[in-house]
Symmetry: D2
Subunit: 283 residues, 4 copies
């Protein structure tokens, strides 16, 4: 079922719900899902509606025009998207295949509602797996001292593909600040720890050293500061002294791919709103 | 913060959200929480609003009068309640203290927003614990062959206390059908299994015999059919071959009290809607 | 690291641990992992040792000969296996790809320590995916009225491949009793419910109808009675009224593949012991 | 059933299991539970046996004498305790009652196998609750500038009560280094975050600020460095943008008391071994 997704953030106040509800009712909009949230600390209001596209008398542009006055009245930050316009998501990976394979399978079996115009990797290892899915694979090596060159190539590829989002499926390289900024809230990373614990390299080693009883993974939007962007989704799995670092790596993989695929799904369905470096996830 | 809780169920259609939103906006109602759900299978629509009481120009009766025409228009089943009118919840227990102690502590520490006019038990064991909390304790033995008499006494007590709800905190006796009916969707039970597995007596024994790897507990509204009422909340905990039945009983207790207290909290906050023997929980 | 896995079940008594410990110490066996369990109800004792193969002066046959007198003395049911002798696991699937793709990826990335001589399916849909992994794919249609013929072909294939185990990765067909018996405790199934709830067909529909708040999956050895064999592993995921049956199917897939891969791993590492239709899992 | 608990840590090597097994078999020791662990990184071996006391021909002292030569041979760090000698556990609390009430109820209902000689608090709020359980309550205020005095009193009380362990059930004060040292690996704290995230004060505020999707609690032995001691047990609970800090505090309480009671139980049953600031928990 094709839907329009209307996502709104604005300073809280009386009458917003009614105004939006009226607007939708006026045009016979059939609401299939609705979520609100008033954040008492910040005084902001957040809202997401999913509306059957065939119930409305206009397309996205028509909607935008009709809704603009209301948006202005309440100083809304807002967006409206069409579920039929599949987002173009560029996947980036390194040598580890588990997250990439998981996303590709979900995409292949129709579970992940997006297009994957290409996969970019700093290694050539996963080419065959990707190409079996009928997806172009670009090998962009990232050599010490020649990083700038590599990321210029990455940027070029991403732009050529008109990417709506970038997913770092265990890419293991730090993107340059410009790229993060250009794709703000559209670069999704999976970090293999339960953030804010164990930022940076080798989190499973850090976890083993500290002797934690649960390890986790964190899906977040990438910002300039390493592993400090808004968290979209997290989960954990129990470990014990019986688990070596290798066991943790293996157990962690399952959490990583679950958390990344859930986070990406929320993003694709426009369920994630970012406010003051935190997310609201209307799921 | 005192709120009114407006809970609505009605056949789905266009304009319900707008109409209710308009109504609230008309009276300057400050919505602190809102939840909707369209059930595509049944074609029903469900809605819960929490509105600051001090933002509205009327009391409950005023609200009811003003809202009645809208309710009629959409054939709504609906209720409006006031968070300041604490529900009167009669607790019933047998000999096991864990669920009762847990609820009493939550109540005592202000976490559970209700009054507890009394505790009724078929044994006298827990009297001192209850009375320390300043709550009257009624010992109503249930003797074989004289059950009718006992439950007449229970009914009398419940009515005398003007109970709004009854919680069976491991009461271990089957309530008579009339009482279940009189307090339909207001008698809350905790069953010590992950229903629908292991209905009836000794569920931990049944679980051990079947060799399940997780055991659970289920909080549900009581209906005439044993352990078959609408499920409000469930949870599980991992067990292994190392756990004897006694271990399961111990581990299960922690799940039981968590699940019961969560379920009761949802009920008290008017978060639970029942439709065709299932619940929607707006949490 | 190559290890021998010694798995023992016998009536409980004093001196078993010492006798086995002595035996291993006598031959300078380097124990890397040891697990015991005394089942007080049945009076049986269970034990699993993992021993570095290069620390022992004999091969499997030598071990068997040397250990036989001890095994007789304590009436042991026992087995010794060599981690270097990879088990041959035939996978069977139908049209749903998620469990099969998951197992194939784990195998391909070296996480699953077994050989997969072939995949058998009653449909031809997944051939390309399987063949990309370099694994033969046999399409054996199961037509109503000609089931016997089909399963004769399946049996022939399984025997030809010298299969040590059969994994039903959402095969959706009931294996004939003879095959279950021939491969007793070696046919592993994933059932898409938290057994013993929702035996049989369409468990997610059953779960939705009953309104449970968690759905699950169960990995078990197949026995003649449907979905009633010894449970190896289970897990659950939270659902709510917001989840349609389609959502449950999607959420359940993730649980199914996790539970199946964990159960298979336990089986491959000889961590599972079966006693009176229950398992002990030494993990 | 009365048992002896033999806990051993020593450099790994061949023959330890056999030697200990032989020793126990020689004296007809009936092992009810056994756990081993070889830590490959540190090269240490860890072992715990539970043996029926009535199966052995000696008491603790006799055991110690008979076992000493073996312990010397393998340079063991070891201890043997008697389940019939209940540990004396002093509880310390502040104003928050949830952890204290939970422990007291478990103790009262026979679930927690220890004596509680007294409760010490820096406030007088929880006196009545404690005294209802028949346990002495000592109010030792901790005033700024007079902390030394207060902790001298605490030390005196703890020694007077011949405490085997101290549990900080949300005590909210930092114990002086001398006391931590004197009771090394015997002071158990519950920290209201998933360590190492959110060390120090107001962890739920920190968690809310960072926007994590799960909050947790950590039970650990207290060392001089704040919240950095060996972790015994941890758990988490899911939160969302809908949960205010107050909600997190409430949800967190349930995790705190579960985690603390599990950690304490492991400690009482001698299931916890500490090695290089990490624990092994043989559960």
């Amino acid at each position: 079922m094709r839907t329009f997704r209307l996502v709104i953030a604005c300073p809280d106040g009386v009458g917003i719900v009614a105004k939006v509800g009226n607007f939708l009712a006026t045009y016979n909009g059939w609401i299939t899902e609705a979520n609100h949230h008033s954040d008492h600390q910040s005084g902001w209001f957040f809202m997401r509606h999913e509306i059957r596209a065939d119930s409305l008398p206009f397309d996205l542009d028509g909607f935008r025009q009709a809704f603009a006055p209301i948006a202005r009245e309440f100083s809304m930050e807002w967006r409206i998207t069409d579920s039929a316009q599949r987002k173009r998501v560029v996947l980036m990976a390194s040598r580890e295949s588990h997250c990439l394979a998981d996303l590709l399978h979900r995409w292949h079996s129709g579970e992940l509602d997006c297009d994957i115009p290409c996969v970019i990797s700093n290694h050539d290892d996963l080419r065959s797996m990707v190409e079996w899915h009928g997806i172009p694979y670009f090998h962009v090596p990232v050599q010490p001292g020649r990083k700038e060159e590599a990321f210029a190539e990455v940027s070029r590829l991403v732009r050529d593909q008109s990417a709506d989002a970038i997913v770092l499926a265990r890419y293991m390289q730090i993107l340059p600040a410009e790229l993060c900024e250009e794709y703000a809230q559209r670069v999704i990373n999976i970090h293999h720890s339960f953030l804010p614990s164990f930022v940076g390299a080798k989190p499973y080693h850090q976890a083993s050293l500290r002797g934690v009883k649960l390890i986790g993974a964190t899906c977040h939007y990438v910002t300039e500061e390493l592993d400090a962007g808004p968290i979209i989704e997290q989960d954990v799995v129990r470990v014990s002294h019986r688990d070596s670092i290798e066991d943790m790596v293996r157990l962690g993989k399952d959490v990583e791919k679950m958390v990344l695929s859930r986070g990406l799904r929320y993003h694709l369905e426009e369920r994630v709103l970012v406010h003051s470096n935190k997310t609201l996830v209307f799921n």
